[in-house]
Symmetry: C2
Subunit: 366 residues, 2 copies
């Protein structure tokens, strides 16, 4: 006889707290696999290579699941993340940022000695640092130019600047131009198209071309394939999803693979409760949402603020309210920063604990 679902979930909660205590971030590998397959299919359908951004999971185990599903390679945000992935045997890597600290510390040189990295730059200073690292490593370095088409983070803001940097790369025997890195705003794909069109012409006049034209972002799944000329897409959050992705319309609750199991540890008043998960677990990343996570068992409860190790529950809108000792499951606002708080994730399939996955690249600042 099959046990009812709520009994199975209660058993899982008890197994989690007995084996790991609370709070405890838990991922469901069945949902993870579904999410990986979904992202791969979105890329396949549009004829784009899939290069998932591992900043979300920071785990070689999960990166290999993505590669097994068809990903061409991976994207890292930090040199230290790439080091961990190379240690695990993954070698087709774009590091999607200006790597100044990693270059100055010699770690870029060391990693370039081991594999042929693809790095990104938006300025001549970075290019000079990469050239020096490539020379020290005795291996030419592949470079993408990061382009800003409206997000105003890093990236050159005009095609003319791309051409200026491409010329520097062309004239440097230790650098090899491989393409462009875009991170278009959700509503910025037409200007990205225009940017790419002008850039392509400029490159052609130099006798150059872009082998890689990369777009990025899980929310951009709604725009994927819209850039004529794009060769690959890099998305991170889609492996787990979170409240931000639900708000962006690219995921549903059942697509959220990570839940933080947390205990109700105090009930100071009828409308108040305290969780043992605070900003050192869920992080203060509010991302424009109400509260700091959603309780699956009490969707009307609001995590109204966080202390370092306390989540403050506003229970005024809940008909039923949790008791001290109850374990609840929280979907975080922003899963990428929540994962980065822990050294491991407990893995389940359905209601069975099946593994503990080290977050091997957690906390890689450089």
């Amino acid at each position: 006889m099959t046990k009812p679902q709520n009994e199975l979930i209660e058993n899982l909660k008890q197994n989690i707290i007995k084996n790991f205590g609370t709070p405890c971030p838990v991922i469901d590998l069945d949902i993870v696999q579904t999410n990986i397959n979904h992202a791969q299919k979105l890329c396949d359908v549009k004829g784009l290579a899939n290069r998932p951004h591992i900043k979300t999971h920071k785990s070689p185990v999960l990166a290999k699941m993505q590669i097994a599903a068809g990903a061409k390679g991976i994207t890292c945000q930090k040199l230290g993340e790439a080091e961990v992935m190379v240690d695990a045997g993954i070698t087709d890597i774009i590091i999607a940022t200006n790597l100044l600290g990693a270059a100055a510390s010699g770690r870029l040189t060391s990693l370039q000695r081991r594999i042929s990295l693809k790095v990104c730059a938006d300025n001549p200073f970075s290019l000079a640092a990469y050239s020096e690292a490539a020379q020290q490593a005795n291996r030419v370095m592949d470079v993408l130019i990061e382009c800003d088409t409206g997000r105003h983070r890093a990236g050159v803001v005009t095609p003319v600047e791309v051409i200026t940097l491409a010329r520097i790369i062309k004239n440097d025997p230790m650098l090899n131009f491989v393409g462009l890195l875009f991170y278009p705003p959700l509503n910025g794909w037409s200007q990205t198209q225009e940017f790419w069109k002008k850039t392509k012409e400029g490159l052609k006049s130099l006798g150059m071309s872009a082998k890689i034209v990369s777009t990025g972002g899980t929310p951009n799944f709604q725009n994927i394939g819209q850039l004529d000329g794009a060769t690959e897409h890099r998305a991170g959050t889609c492996i787990f999803n979170d409240l931000m992705m639900i708000k962006a319309g690219v995921a549903k609750f059942e697509d959220c693979a990570l839940q933080v199991f947390t205990s109700v540890v105090s009930r100071g008043a009828v409308d108040r409760g305290i969780l043992d998960a605070g900003s050192k677990t869920l992080t203060s990343d509010q991302s424009g949402l109400e509260g700091f996570g959603r309780l699956l068992e009490y969707p009307n409860a609001i995590i109204e603020k966080l202390a370092e190790e306390h989540g403050f529950l506003d229970l005024s809108k809940c008909l039923n309210k949790p008791n001290i000792g109850d374990i609840v499951r929280v979907i975080p606002n922003h899963v990428c920063v929540a994962v980065n708080m822990v050294d491991q994730l407990v893995a389940v399939r359905g209601n069975e604990i099946v593994d503990v996955i080290p977050i091997a690249a957690r906390g890689m600042l450089v």
Copy 2:
């Protein structure tokens, strides 16, 4: 001939980036020692025992500096923090929270076998869990009752509830009542006095008394000693200080021992810049302040928002603006959460690197 100060700082920056890359959180041990001595003196003057909260530094090395300066013991927020401190030989520990996950997982029992812990509770469920752990450990557990006098976090809200819990403790052979834990709001010391007065009378009627009456918080340094009957104070942030403590009026810039060394990696426009420190370094903890940290070199620059690995600089109010490749030092809003992002802190004295201190209790969720 002595080198000028700005040249010494520039040398330090270059030593930091060459040895560790950027971003890199750095503490000055001379300032740390001054801060430790200052907190100790504040307690000494008021005749209070000093029991620093190690949630800020999470390092046995630094806890031992506090004990060497006169601290009676330490305060931890998590069982996992206490485990690390016990491993290092520190045994006089209050864990200042309801420990449900740690109790259910058996880790509370294991640690109670090794030392006599002082734990906190605000409800009978926690007391039952402690009693069971004490029984399994075969050692009576010391318990403080956590009291809420206005902060509305955890804690019982009336003296009557304290007495109810004290009676349960009195009747439980495995529990030993040792006192009360207060965390008074800045303007809540008179109601705390009233709460303590009534509680003391109630305890007396049970033939009980509080050996420990603890107050807490670095901002409460402005109120320290105001509670007649208090026996000790626990403060955490004061070892490093941060922008919150400056705003609270209990520290100045020169008292901030921790600075994040970070590189300017992009300058997309005349008024924009990007740091290589984002929310995975500085955290999204804004704490009601403007921006996400203060640049020592550019006090008019605003870190207006953070991506995971990017700090967005608004340079519109800066006459001089940093260049790509410049290293700047950022004082974080909230140092306790920033320290919890890293596995080590680089330690300097003045402008010399002298040590690397492991944050051994980083990321202890349970």
